[in-house]
Protein backbone atom coordinates (compact mmCIF):
# COMPACT_ATOMS: atom_id res chain seq x y z
CA UNK A 1 0.00 0.00 0.00
CA UNK A 2 2.96 2.27 0.74
CA UNK A 3 3.71 3.03 -2.90
CA UNK A 4 0.02 3.37 -3.71
CA UNK A 5 -0.58 5.75 -0.81
CA UNK A 6 2.00 8.14 -2.20
CA UNK A 7 0.16 8.38 -5.50
CA UNK A 8 -3.24 8.69 -3.85
CA UNK A 9 -1.89 11.70 -1.99
CA UNK A 10 -0.33 13.04 -5.16
CA UNK A 11 -3.68 12.86 -6.95
CA UNK A 12 -5.41 14.66 -4.08
CA UNK A 13 -2.80 17.38 -4.09
CA UNK A 14 -3.15 17.76 -7.83
CA UNK A 15 -6.89 18.32 -7.61
CA UNK A 16 -6.93 20.55 -4.53
CA UNK A 17 -7.17 24.29 -5.06
CA UNK A 18 -5.98 25.17 -1.59
CA UNK A 19 -3.08 23.80 0.46
CA UNK A 20 -4.08 20.39 1.83
CA UNK A 21 -3.46 19.96 5.53
CA UNK A 22 -2.47 16.74 7.25
CA UNK A 23 -5.90 16.63 8.93
CA UNK A 24 -7.61 17.01 5.60
CA UNK A 25 -5.48 14.26 4.05
CA UNK A 26 -6.06 11.92 6.98
CA UNK A 27 -9.80 12.53 6.88
CA UNK A 28 -9.91 11.85 3.15
CA UNK A 29 -7.73 8.77 3.05
CA UNK A 30 -8.94 7.19 6.35
CA UNK A 31 -7.14 4.48 8.21
CA UNK A 32 -3.63 5.65 7.46
CA UNK A 33 -1.14 6.64 10.12
CA UNK A 34 0.07 10.22 10.19
CA UNK A 35 3.63 8.93 9.98
CA UNK A 36 2.91 6.99 6.77
CA UNK A 37 1.28 10.02 5.16
CA UNK A 38 4.13 12.27 6.23
CA UNK A 39 6.69 9.85 4.78
CA UNK A 40 4.76 9.76 1.51
CA UNK A 41 4.61 13.57 1.44
CA UNK A 42 8.33 13.84 2.17
CA UNK A 43 9.07 11.40 -0.65
CA UNK A 44 6.87 13.33 -3.05
CA UNK A 45 8.54 16.62 -2.13
CA UNK A 46 11.97 15.04 -2.65
CA UNK A 47 10.92 13.59 -6.02
CA UNK A 48 9.75 16.92 -7.36
CA UNK A 49 12.81 18.61 -5.94
CA UNK A 50 15.04 16.10 -7.74
CA UNK A 51 13.12 16.44 -10.98
CA UNK A 52 13.47 20.23 -10.71
CA UNK A 53 10.77 20.77 -13.32
CA UNK A 54 8.09 23.38 -13.76
CA UNK A 55 6.63 23.07 -10.30
CA UNK A 56 7.40 21.78 -6.82
CA UNK A 57 5.45 20.45 -3.87
CA UNK A 58 5.69 23.06 -1.12
CA UNK A 59 4.65 23.32 2.51
CA UNK A 60 2.43 26.38 2.73
CA UNK A 61 0.07 27.75 5.38
CA UNK A 62 -0.01 24.53 7.37
CA UNK A 63 -0.61 22.36 4.29
CA UNK A 64 0.90 21.06 1.08
CA UNK A 65 0.47 22.57 -2.35
CA UNK A 66 1.92 22.39 -5.85
CA UNK A 67 3.54 25.67 -6.81
CA UNK A 68 5.34 26.74 -9.94
CA UNK A 69 9.06 27.44 -9.89
CA UNK A 70 9.89 31.10 -9.48
CA UNK A 71 12.09 31.12 -12.55
CA UNK A 72 9.16 30.58 -14.89
CA UNK A 73 7.05 33.46 -13.58
CA UNK A 74 7.54 35.59 -16.68
CA UNK A 75 6.17 32.82 -18.88
CA UNK A 76 3.19 32.26 -16.62
CA UNK A 77 2.43 35.95 -16.64
CA UNK A 78 2.10 35.76 -20.41
CA UNK A 79 -0.67 33.24 -19.89
CA UNK A 80 -2.34 34.77 -16.84
CA UNK A 81 -2.56 38.46 -16.13
CA UNK A 82 -1.51 38.92 -12.52
CA UNK A 83 -4.55 40.19 -10.70
CA UNK A 84 -2.88 41.53 -7.61
CA UNK A 85 -0.80 44.70 -7.70
CA UNK A 86 2.56 44.63 -5.98
CA UNK A 87 2.77 45.62 -2.35
CA UNK A 88 4.35 48.99 -1.71
CA UNK A 89 7.25 49.54 0.67
CA UNK A 90 4.84 51.05 3.18
CA UNK A 91 2.54 48.03 2.91
CA UNK A 92 5.41 45.59 3.39
CA UNK A 93 6.71 47.49 6.42
CA UNK A 94 3.29 47.57 8.01
CA UNK A 95 2.78 43.90 7.24
CA UNK A 96 6.17 43.05 8.73
CA UNK A 97 5.30 44.92 11.94
CA UNK A 98 1.99 43.08 12.23
CA UNK A 99 3.57 39.71 11.37
CA UNK A 100 6.26 40.03 14.03
CA UNK A 101 4.32 41.82 16.75
CA UNK A 102 0.90 40.28 16.38
CA UNK A 103 -1.58 40.72 17.87
CA UNK A 104 -0.96 44.45 17.57
CA UNK A 105 -2.85 47.74 17.39
CA UNK A 106 -2.59 50.65 14.98
CA UNK A 107 -0.87 53.05 17.37
CA UNK A 108 1.93 50.52 17.97
CA UNK A 109 2.40 50.16 14.20
CA UNK A 110 2.52 53.92 13.77
CA UNK A 111 4.91 54.27 16.67
CA UNK A 112 7.46 52.08 14.87
CA UNK A 113 6.93 53.50 11.38
CA UNK A 114 6.62 57.09 12.57
CA UNK A 115 3.84 57.84 10.09
CA UNK A 116 0.08 57.49 9.82
CA UNK A 117 -0.72 53.95 8.70
CA UNK A 118 -4.53 53.91 8.55
CA UNK A 119 -4.73 53.74 4.77
CA UNK A 120 -2.13 51.00 4.51
CA UNK A 121 -3.91 48.93 7.15
CA UNK A 122 -7.21 49.25 5.30
CA UNK A 123 -5.54 48.12 2.07
CA UNK A 124 -3.97 45.11 3.80
CA UNK A 125 -7.39 44.22 5.20
CA UNK A 126 -8.95 44.42 1.75
CA UNK A 127 -6.27 42.14 0.39
CA UNK A 128 -6.97 39.74 3.25
CA UNK A 129 -3.38 39.75 4.42
CA UNK A 130 -4.41 40.90 7.88
CA UNK A 131 -7.58 40.67 9.92
CA UNK A 132 -9.11 42.12 13.03
CA UNK A 133 -8.87 39.84 16.06
CA UNK A 134 -10.99 41.99 18.32
CA UNK A 135 -10.67 45.10 20.40
CA UNK A 136 -8.10 45.88 23.03
CA UNK A 137 -9.62 46.73 26.39
CA UNK A 138 -7.85 50.05 26.79
CA UNK A 139 -9.28 53.54 26.34
CA UNK A 140 -10.61 53.93 22.82
CA UNK A 141 -10.92 50.17 22.44
CA UNK A 142 -8.62 50.03 19.40
CA UNK A 143 -8.85 47.17 16.91
CA UNK A 144 -6.32 44.38 17.26
CA UNK A 145 -4.71 43.15 14.04
CA UNK A 146 -3.08 39.87 13.09
CA UNK A 147 -2.01 38.19 9.86
CA UNK A 148 -4.25 35.72 8.05
CA UNK A 149 -3.80 32.27 6.58
CA UNK A 150 -3.84 33.99 3.21
CA UNK A 151 -0.74 35.92 4.29
CA UNK A 152 1.08 32.60 4.75
CA UNK A 153 -0.09 31.47 1.32
CA UNK A 154 0.98 34.65 -0.43
CA UNK A 155 4.44 34.67 1.15
CA UNK A 156 4.90 30.91 0.83
CA UNK A 157 5.34 30.38 4.55
CA UNK A 158 4.76 27.07 6.32
CA UNK A 159 3.56 28.87 9.41
CA UNK A 160 4.46 32.00 11.37
CA UNK A 161 7.53 30.28 12.81
CA UNK A 162 8.79 30.03 9.23
CA UNK A 163 9.47 33.80 9.27
CA UNK A 164 13.12 34.75 9.76
CA UNK A 165 13.90 35.01 13.46
CA UNK A 166 14.54 38.41 15.08
CA UNK A 167 18.19 37.36 15.42
CA UNK A 168 18.49 36.69 11.68
CA UNK A 169 16.87 40.02 10.94
CA UNK A 170 19.11 41.76 13.42
CA UNK A 171 22.19 40.46 11.64
CA UNK A 172 20.83 41.49 8.29
CA UNK A 173 19.89 44.99 9.40
CA UNK A 174 23.31 45.50 10.97
CA UNK A 175 25.08 44.45 7.79
CA UNK A 176 22.81 46.72 5.78
CA UNK A 177 23.69 49.70 7.88
CA UNK A 178 27.37 49.06 7.42
CA UNK A 179 27.27 48.71 3.68
CA UNK A 180 28.13 51.50 1.30
CA UNK A 181 25.20 53.88 1.10
CA UNK A 182 25.81 54.45 -2.61
CA UNK A 183 24.78 50.93 -3.53
CA UNK A 184 22.07 50.44 -0.94
CA UNK A 185 19.16 50.33 -3.31
CA UNK A 186 20.96 48.97 -6.31
CA UNK A 187 19.82 45.69 -7.74
CA UNK A 188 22.40 43.20 -6.54
CA UNK A 189 22.43 41.33 -9.82
CA UNK A 190 23.92 44.29 -11.59
CA UNK A 191 27.54 45.21 -10.93
CA UNK A 192 28.20 48.86 -10.01
CA UNK A 193 28.86 51.09 -12.98
CA UNK A 194 32.57 51.33 -12.13
CA UNK A 195 33.01 47.60 -12.69
CA UNK A 196 31.47 47.59 -16.10
CA UNK A 197 33.93 47.47 -18.97
CA UNK A 198 34.40 50.79 -20.69
CA UNK A 199 33.36 49.32 -23.99
CA UNK A 200 30.50 46.97 -24.58
CA UNK A 201 32.11 43.96 -26.29
CA UNK A 202 28.78 42.37 -27.14
CA UNK A 203 27.56 45.38 -29.03
CA UNK A 204 30.88 45.62 -30.82
CA UNK A 205 30.94 42.03 -32.06
CA UNK A 206 27.39 42.48 -33.18
CA UNK A 207 28.41 45.49 -35.23
CA UNK A 208 31.38 43.56 -36.65
CA UNK A 209 29.15 40.74 -37.77
CA UNK A 210 27.01 43.10 -39.65
CA UNK A 211 29.97 44.43 -41.64
Amino acid sequence: MAEDLKYIIESLLFVSETPLTMDHLKGTIEGEETAAIRTALDELMAEYELRDGGFLLKQVAGGYQFRTQGRYNEWIKRLIKPSTPRLSKAALETLAIIAYNQPTIRSDIEHIRGVDSGGVIRMLMERKLIRVLGRKEIPGRPLIYATTKHFLEVFELKDLKDLPTPREIEELSRSRLEENPDVEDEDEDHPPASQLPAEMPEAKTHADNQD
Binding site: E17, T84, A96, R113, V115, H150, F155, I169, L172, R176
Partner: protein
Protein backbone atom coordinates in the same frame (compact mmCIF):
# COMPACT_ATOMS: atom_id res chain seq x y z
CA UNK B 1 2.59 59.64 1.73
CA UNK B 2 2.33 59.18 -2.00
CA UNK B 3 2.00 62.88 -2.73
CA UNK B 4 5.26 63.66 -1.07
CA UNK B 5 6.99 60.86 -2.90
CA UNK B 6 5.69 62.09 -6.23
CA UNK B 7 6.81 65.59 -5.47
CA UNK B 8 10.25 64.35 -4.57
CA UNK B 9 10.55 62.60 -7.89
CA UNK B 10 9.56 65.70 -9.77
CA UNK B 11 11.69 68.05 -7.77
CA UNK B 12 15.01 66.48 -8.83
CA UNK B 13 17.07 68.67 -6.54
CA UNK B 14 20.31 68.28 -8.43
CA UNK B 15 20.88 72.02 -8.55
CA UNK B 16 21.05 72.12 -4.80
CA UNK B 17 24.48 73.40 -3.91
CA UNK B 18 25.46 71.04 -1.16
CA UNK B 19 26.13 67.51 -2.26
CA UNK B 20 25.28 66.14 1.16
CA UNK B 21 21.59 66.72 0.79
CA UNK B 22 21.24 65.78 -2.81
CA UNK B 23 18.37 63.40 -2.97
CA UNK B 24 18.70 60.44 -5.23
CA UNK B 25 15.54 60.02 -7.22
CA UNK B 26 14.90 56.51 -6.04
CA UNK B 27 15.17 57.61 -2.43
CA UNK B 28 11.65 57.85 -1.23
CA UNK B 29 11.12 58.96 2.31
CA UNK B 30 8.10 57.36 3.82
CA UNK B 31 8.47 59.35 6.97
CA UNK B 32 10.93 60.94 9.39
CA UNK B 33 12.43 57.57 10.33
CA UNK B 34 13.21 56.82 6.72
CA UNK B 35 14.91 60.18 6.31
CA UNK B 36 16.92 59.71 9.47
CA UNK B 37 18.12 56.28 8.37
CA UNK B 38 19.15 57.78 5.06
CA UNK B 39 21.14 60.57 6.75
CA UNK B 40 22.89 58.18 9.11
CA UNK B 41 23.84 55.82 6.29
CA UNK B 42 25.03 58.71 4.21
CA UNK B 43 27.23 59.98 7.04
CA UNK B 44 28.56 56.42 7.53
CA UNK B 45 28.39 56.67 11.28
CA UNK B 46 27.78 54.08 13.97
CA UNK B 47 24.15 53.97 14.94
CA UNK B 48 25.19 53.55 18.59
CA UNK B 49 27.27 56.72 18.38
CA UNK B 50 25.27 59.15 16.29
CA UNK B 51 26.92 62.58 15.89
CA UNK B 52 23.71 64.21 16.98
CA UNK B 53 24.45 67.84 16.11
CA UNK B 54 25.62 66.92 12.61
CA UNK B 55 22.61 64.72 11.92
CA UNK B 56 20.21 67.25 13.44
CA UNK B 57 21.63 70.02 11.27
CA UNK B 58 21.27 67.88 8.15
CA UNK B 59 17.79 66.86 9.11
CA UNK B 60 16.70 70.46 9.63
CA UNK B 61 18.26 71.54 6.36
CA UNK B 62 16.44 68.82 4.58
CA UNK B 63 13.18 69.99 6.12
CA UNK B 64 13.97 73.51 4.99
CA UNK B 65 14.68 72.24 1.51
CA UNK B 66 11.32 70.48 1.46
CA UNK B 67 9.70 73.73 2.47
CA UNK B 68 11.45 75.61 -0.30
CA UNK B 69 10.28 73.05 -2.78
CA UNK B 70 6.77 73.56 -1.48
CA UNK B 71 6.55 69.94 -0.48
CA UNK B 72 3.91 69.30 2.10
CA UNK B 73 5.33 67.24 4.86
CA UNK B 74 3.43 65.75 7.71
CA UNK B 75 3.69 66.87 11.31
CA UNK B 76 5.64 63.68 11.96
CA UNK B 77 8.67 65.32 10.36
CA UNK B 78 8.39 68.33 12.65
CA UNK B 79 7.97 66.13 15.70
CA UNK B 80 11.18 64.28 14.84
CA UNK B 81 12.96 67.61 14.38
CA UNK B 82 11.97 68.67 17.87
CA UNK B 83 13.04 65.32 19.31
CA UNK B 84 16.45 65.65 17.67
CA UNK B 85 16.87 69.23 18.85
CA UNK B 86 15.88 68.21 22.33
CA UNK B 87 18.45 65.41 22.40
CA UNK B 88 21.07 67.78 21.07
CA UNK B 89 20.39 70.28 23.85
CA UNK B 90 20.53 67.55 26.48
CA UNK B 91 23.91 66.46 25.10
CA UNK B 92 25.22 69.98 25.60
CA UNK B 93 24.29 70.10 29.26
CA UNK B 94 27.07 69.18 31.66
CA UNK B 95 26.34 65.96 33.58
CA UNK B 96 24.42 66.70 36.74
CA UNK B 97 26.27 66.08 39.98
CA UNK B 98 23.56 63.85 41.49
CA UNK B 99 22.92 61.30 38.80
CA UNK B 100 26.21 59.97 37.46
CA UNK B 101 24.66 56.97 35.76
CA UNK B 102 22.51 59.06 33.44
CA UNK B 103 21.45 57.36 30.24
CA UNK B 104 22.84 58.58 26.94
CA UNK B 105 20.15 60.99 25.65
CA UNK B 106 20.69 59.63 22.15
CA UNK B 107 19.15 56.32 23.16
CA UNK B 108 15.81 58.04 22.79
CA UNK B 109 16.39 57.99 19.05
CA UNK B 110 18.71 54.96 18.76
CA UNK B 111 16.17 52.50 20.13
CA UNK B 112 13.33 53.36 17.74
CA UNK B 113 15.83 53.56 14.88
CA UNK B 114 17.07 50.04 15.55
CA UNK B 115 13.53 48.79 15.75
CA UNK B 116 12.68 50.54 12.50
CA UNK B 117 15.73 49.08 10.76
CA UNK B 118 14.74 45.63 11.94
CA UNK B 119 11.30 46.09 10.44
CA UNK B 120 12.75 47.47 7.23
CA UNK B 121 14.92 44.37 6.87
CA UNK B 122 11.99 42.14 7.71
CA UNK B 123 9.93 43.90 5.03
CA UNK B 124 12.71 43.44 2.48
CA UNK B 125 12.96 39.77 3.32
CA UNK B 126 9.22 39.42 2.84
CA UNK B 127 9.49 41.09 -0.56
CA UNK B 128 12.21 38.65 -1.61
CA UNK B 129 10.05 35.62 -0.98
CA UNK B 130 8.31 33.62 -3.72
CA UNK B 131 5.24 35.80 -3.84
CA UNK B 132 2.05 34.07 -4.88
CA UNK B 133 0.73 35.69 -8.04
CA UNK B 134 4.10 37.19 -8.89
CA UNK B 135 6.92 34.66 -8.51
CA UNK B 136 4.95 31.49 -7.99
CA UNK B 137 1.54 30.31 -9.06
CA UNK B 138 -0.86 27.61 -8.00
CA UNK B 139 -3.21 25.61 -10.15
CA UNK B 140 -6.04 28.01 -9.54
CA UNK B 141 -4.53 31.45 -9.15
CA UNK B 142 -7.67 33.21 -7.98
CA UNK B 143 -8.77 30.67 -5.41
CA UNK B 144 -8.73 33.22 -2.62
CA UNK B 145 -11.88 35.00 -3.69
CA UNK B 146 -13.98 33.16 -1.14
CA UNK B 147 -11.36 31.71 1.14
CA UNK B 148 -12.59 30.02 4.24
CA UNK B 149 -16.08 29.30 2.96
CA UNK B 150 -15.26 27.06 0.04
CA UNK B 151 -17.11 24.11 1.58
CA UNK B 152 -20.46 25.78 1.33
CA UNK B 153 -22.36 27.14 -1.58
CA UNK B 154 -21.96 30.74 -0.63
CA UNK B 155 -21.84 33.79 -2.82
CA UNK B 156 -20.91 37.33 -2.06
CA UNK B 157 -23.89 39.57 -2.36
CA UNK B 158 -24.27 43.10 -3.57
CA UNK B 159 -25.91 46.13 -2.09
CA UNK B 160 -29.28 45.51 -3.74
CA UNK B 161 -29.80 42.07 -2.21
CA UNK B 162 -28.90 43.63 1.10
CA UNK B 163 -31.41 46.43 0.67
CA UNK B 164 -34.09 43.86 -0.24
CA UNK B 165 -33.36 41.94 2.94
CA UNK B 166 -33.49 45.21 4.88
CA UNK B 167 -36.84 46.05 3.32
CA UNK B 168 -38.19 42.66 4.43
CA UNK B 169 -37.21 43.37 8.00
CA UNK B 170 -38.72 46.84 7.88
CA UNK B 171 -41.96 45.35 6.54
CA UNK B 172 -42.16 43.05 9.55
CA UNK B 173 -42.38 45.99 11.95
CA UNK B 174 -46.03 46.64 12.70
CA UNK B 175 -47.15 50.02 11.39
CA UNK B 176 -48.43 51.30 14.76
CA UNK B 177 -44.88 51.47 16.02
CA UNK B 178 -44.25 55.13 15.55
CA UNK B 179 -40.91 56.76 16.10
CA UNK B 180 -40.77 57.88 19.69
CA UNK B 181 -38.80 61.09 19.80
CA UNK B 182 -38.37 61.07 23.55
CA UNK B 183 -36.45 57.81 23.60
CA UNK B 184 -32.72 57.61 23.88
CA UNK B 185 -31.48 56.55 20.50
CA UNK B 186 -28.45 54.45 19.95
CA UNK B 187 -25.88 55.90 17.57
CA UNK B 188 -24.44 54.06 14.58
CA UNK B 189 -21.07 54.09 16.30
CA UNK B 190 -22.51 52.49 19.43
CA UNK B 191 -24.36 49.95 17.35
CA UNK B 192 -21.13 49.00 15.57
CA UNK B 193 -19.54 48.34 18.95
CA UNK B 194 -22.51 46.20 20.02
CA UNK B 195 -22.56 44.23 16.77
CA UNK B 196 -18.80 43.72 16.95
CA UNK B 197 -19.21 42.22 20.40
CA UNK B 198 -21.99 39.93 19.22
CA UNK B 199 -20.00 38.83 16.18
CA UNK B 200 -16.85 38.36 18.21
CA UNK B 201 -18.71 35.86 20.35
CA UNK B 202 -20.40 34.02 17.48
CA UNK B 203 -18.10 34.62 14.51
CA UNK B 204 -21.03 34.61 12.09
CA UNK B 205 -24.70 35.50 12.36
CA UNK B 206 -27.61 35.62 9.97
CA UNK B 207 -28.80 38.98 8.75
CA UNK B 208 -32.11 38.60 10.60
CA UNK B 209 -30.41 37.76 13.90
CA UNK B 210 -28.61 41.09 13.86
CA UNK B 211 -31.97 42.83 13.98
CA UNK B 212 -33.42 40.63 16.71
CA UNK B 213 -33.27 43.35 19.38
CA UNK B 214 -34.62 46.12 17.18
CA UNK B 215 -38.29 46.87 17.49
CA UNK B 216 -38.31 50.48 16.42
CA UNK B 217 -37.95 51.54 12.83
CA UNK B 218 -35.16 53.91 13.85
CA UNK B 219 -33.25 51.08 15.55
CA UNK B 220 -33.51 48.94 12.45
CA UNK B 221 -32.17 51.76 10.32
CA UNK B 222 -29.28 52.36 12.72
CA UNK B 223 -28.43 48.65 12.67
CA UNK B 224 -28.52 48.60 8.88
CA UNK B 225 -26.26 51.66 8.65
CA UNK B 226 -23.90 50.02 11.14
CA UNK B 227 -23.75 46.88 8.97
CA UNK B 228 -22.95 48.94 5.87
CA UNK B 229 -20.27 50.86 7.73
CA UNK B 230 -18.72 47.66 9.06
CA UNK B 231 -18.67 46.15 5.58
CA UNK B 232 -16.95 49.29 4.31
CA UNK B 233 -14.32 49.00 7.05
CA UNK B 234 -13.82 45.33 6.06
CA UNK B 235 -14.79 44.27 9.57
CA UNK B 236 -17.38 41.91 8.18
CA UNK B 237 -17.99 39.89 5.07
CA UNK B 238 -21.53 39.47 3.85
CA UNK B 239 -22.45 36.32 1.97
CA UNK B 240 -25.59 34.54 0.87
CA UNK B 241 -26.13 30.81 1.03
CA UNK B 242 -27.42 29.89 -2.42
CA UNK B 243 -29.86 27.04 -1.64
CA UNK B 244 -31.59 28.73 1.32
CA UNK B 245 -31.13 32.40 0.42
CA UNK B 246 -30.07 33.16 3.99
CA UNK B 247 -27.72 36.11 4.27
CA UNK B 248 -24.92 35.60 6.72
CA UNK B 249 -22.55 38.13 8.22
CA UNK B 250 -19.05 36.83 8.90
CA UNK B 251 -16.76 38.59 11.31
CA UNK B 252 -13.24 38.80 9.92
Amino acid sequence: MPTMMDNLMDAAPDEYEDDLYRVRLQDVFEGPMDLLVHLIKKAEVDIYDIPISQITAQYLEYLEWMQQMNIDFAGDFVLMASTLTHIKSRMLLPPQAGDEEEEDPRLEITRPLLEYLRIKSAAEQLAERNLLGDKTFTRKPDADILDGVEDDQVIRIGLFELIDAFQNILDKVSPDHRVDLTRDRVSVQERIAQLTEMLEAQESMTFDELFADDHQRSDIIVTFLAILEMAKLSLIRIAQHVPTGIIRIFYQ
